[in-house]
């Protein structure tokens, strides 16, 4: 219902259930005719209490729990966690394991970016591009399934290494898949940069200057499209990115077209790195020995997920389970840019602006309990949190 402020506003609600959203989130866009004059967001529909859940599970069990934070970048979460725990325990995974980790991470980036390309095209009403990019995405999904046995939650990591090796046949299958994908990606690059009807919907829309991007703190491809050179793989290489370096793909325009350009070009960079890894795969073991208990201490672990920097804080009390795991996921830091950039644009551009950051909702949701001064600190147990969740959603 329109609010009862002095001048009645016309608010278009998007979500929690809306065809433009694949996951629940709630956005309210105040419009004047077709022009958006204000935007607010409300998240928190899919809070699952995973961070709290990690405290009740062993180091190994958490690997599988954390992988389920996101269905698209599942490997990124497991990788960030595994790297962090290994750092805490003073264990280094063997080079071959690190290379396979990067291999899977890049395959995951390919599948995520192709998925995004389709979704973003769909938001612009360009369903043909949507269908074709998703068809081609099946290639990389099949490669991942062939490699790991799973299409979504690959479970490639174990603490101290990886679970499987890459055989010569698998490597050949990947190379063949990449040849096909490279050709298709070249075509998509042509489409997103030359299709005049599509450019009408992307060029000059939601332009974010470099200063704005830095002020809003955006990360990942969204930032790189505004010429902010922020890529963890380049800044502080982890796993095998030291031996197989990547280059950050940058664009200067900062509009939606640039975001398309950056993500599509990143695909080529992924193809190149994967080929290089397959050609120069280090020999050796797949796992290093990992102690059951991890030394007391705390650490941070950063990796570049498909959507941007994924940051893990892990604290160990010296036992067989973590004391605290904090995941800082990339989408959260890009949402502010949507709310800022939406103002002044047409309502029709909103789904594209929203898709432009490649949002992922379920990894955003957090529960924050604020202790007021004078009140005693309150410890929330898993059981209490669960009960709270049940009560919260019952309303």
């Amino acid at each position: 219902m329109p609010t009862t402020e002095p001048r009645e506003k016309f608010i278009v609600p998007i979500g929690p259930q809306h065809p433009a959203l694949k996951e629940p989130g709630h956005f309210e866009f105040t419009v004047d005719g077709e022009i958006v004059t204000g935007a607010t967001a409300r998240l928190g529909y899919v809070h699952r209490g995973i961070e709290k859940g990690t405290e009740d599970r062993s180091w190994v069990q958490n690997l599988y729990l954390l992988e389920r934070i996101c269905g698209i970048c599942s490997h990124s979460h497991a990788l960030a966690y595994a790297l962090g725990v290994e750092k805490l325990a003073g264990v280094e995974a063997p080079p071959r394991a690190q290379a396979i980790r990067v291999l899977v991470a890049e395959l995951e980036r390919i599948h995520s970016h192709l998925l995004w390309l389709g979704v973003a095209a769909h938001e612009a009403g360009f369903d043909t591009l949507f269908m074709y990019s998703w068809r081609d995405r099946e290639t990389v999904m099949d490669l991942l399934e062939n490699l790991t046995g799973n299409r979504v939650n690959y479970s490639a990591n174990v603490l101290g290494g990886v679970k499987f090796d890459v055989s010569v046949e698998q490597a050949d299958a990947i190379r063949r898949g990449l040849d096909f994908l490279e050709e298709r990606t070249q075509h998509y690059l042509t489409v997103v940069t030359t299709d005049s009807m599509f450019l009408r919907r992307t060029r000059g829309i939601a332009t974010m200057s470099k200063q704005q991007a830095e002020a809003l703190g955006v990360i990942g491809p969204t930032a790189r499209a505004s010429d902010v050179p922020r890529d963890v793989r380049v800044e502080s290489p982890y796993a095998a990115y030291t031996t197989f370096p990547v280059e950050a793909v940058l664009a200067t325009a900062g509009d939606l077209e640039a975001r398309f350009l950056v993500r599509v070009k990143e695909l080529f960079e992924s193809y190149r790195v994967i080929r290089e890894i397959l050609d120069r795969m280090p020999a050796g073991d797949l796992t290093a020995r990992m102690p059951r208990r991890v030394k007391e201490g705390e650490t941070v672990s950063r990796i570049e997920a498909p959507r941007g920097e994924l940051f893990y804080f892990i604290k160990s009390g010296g036992g067989d389970r973590p004391e605290r795991v904090k995941a800082r996921t990339p989408s959260m830091f890009n949402f502010a840019s949507v709310l800022t950039l939406a103002v002044g644009h047409q309502l029709a551009d909103i789904p594209m602006i929203m898709a432009g950051i490649d949002p992922c909702f379920s990894c955003n949701d957090r529960l924050v309990v604020v202790n007021r001064i004078g009140h005693e600190a309150d410890v929330w147990t898993w059981e209490k949190l669960r009960q709270y969740g049940i009560e919260y959603y019952r309303r």
Partner: protein
């Protein structure tokens, strides 16, 4: 033929409704194949409509029930009445009088008007925006569409569809008036809110646009009406520009050919924003159609 039979059973009415659904299937299947999808089975549109007709129709709070239930009927009736004046399935128009071209074009617009009013009648915000866009779009394609249909009328010197169709039967006007042909075909896509002119029902923004609140019978009638409008529109364009539709073979052949073109155009483009649609029509569509019309008038006067 008895006008009542023509209106209710053949070539209008029941036959037209079924044909509309069949053409809708052809369109959906073609678009799906062009998009590398499997597409629906042949009876899918029939099943959809049957299911919708059997469903309860929910009148939302805040809507005038009389209007809400009445508008779909008016829309379908308008489209079916328009079919009376159009040569269908190889037969001459069932009913004809001088100036029926204008009546037909406005009966076809009745559908869009009803959709717009149906959306504006509810208090749903998606419907309201959809209704605004539907009516905005109406004002953008209507003039060029009419101008494009007037081109052949001026050549013939009659505003009677039957006479124009008879004249165009032996002449391929698409060659002499190519601009008019293209504008008429694309205008028809705008009228039917097909991509890339589907801003009024852009699902990623405003769910189902003006028809968001419609379910059950009302929605089924709008769907049927659109099917009828598709046939009538294709028949008009084919009769005027593609050398006539005086026998069943050329009627089905030519309208299906046009449908293939329409399906290809649908899968080729990204959706236009509403202000881009209006800009496109008034900056290019209308001007080109006007230029074509002027050229036609001048050559007619000279000859």
């Amino acid at each position: 033929m008895n006008p009542l039979i023509a209106l209710l059973i053949f070539p209008g009415g029941l036959f037209l409704l079924l044909l509309g659904l069949a053409y809708e299937w052809v369109d959906r299947k073609l678009v799906a194949r062009l998009q590398n999808r499997i597409g629906p089975r042949w009876f899918q549109p029939f099943a959809d409509v049957l299911k919708l007709l059997a469903k309860e129709e929910v009148v939302p709070d805040g809507a005038n029930p009389f209007l809400f239930l009445g508008l779909p009927m008016v829309a379908l009736a308008g489209a079916l009445t328009a079919a009376l004046y159009v040569p269908l399935a190889g037969l001459p128009p069932s009913y004809s009088f001088p100036g029926d071209l204008i009546v037909t074009v406005y009966l076809l617009s009745l559908m869009t008007l009803c959709i717009g009013l149906g959306g504006a009648n509810t208090i749903d915000r998606f419907s309201l925006i959809g209704a605004t866009r539907t009516l905005t779009q109406l004002f953008s394609y209507e003039a060029p569409f009419l101008l494009a249909l007037l081109g052949p009328a001026i050549v013939v010197g009659s505003w009677q569809i039957g006479q124009i169709a008879a004249y165009a039967d032996t002449r391929l006007l698409a060659l002499t008036q190519p601009v008019g042909f293209v504008v008429a075909l694309i205008g028809l896509m705008g009228k039917l809110e097909m991509p890339p002119f589907d801003a009024p029902e852009a699902e990623t923004e405003i769910v189902a646009g003006a028809l968001t609140e419609y379910s059950g019978r009302g929605y089924a009638m709008f769907r049927l009406g659109k099917g009828v409008e598709l046939i009538v529109g294709l028949a008009l364009v084919a009769a005027f520009y593609l050398g006539g539709v005086s026998d069943p073979l050329s009627f089905f052949g030519k309208t299906l050919l046009l449908l293939v073109v329409v399906a290809a155009l649908q899968s080729l483009f990204a959706r236009l924003r509403i202000e881009q649609t209006v800009g496109l029509w008034w900056r290019y569509g209308t001007l080109l159609a006007l230029a074509q019309l002027l050229f036609t008038i001048v050559t007619e006067v000279m000859v």
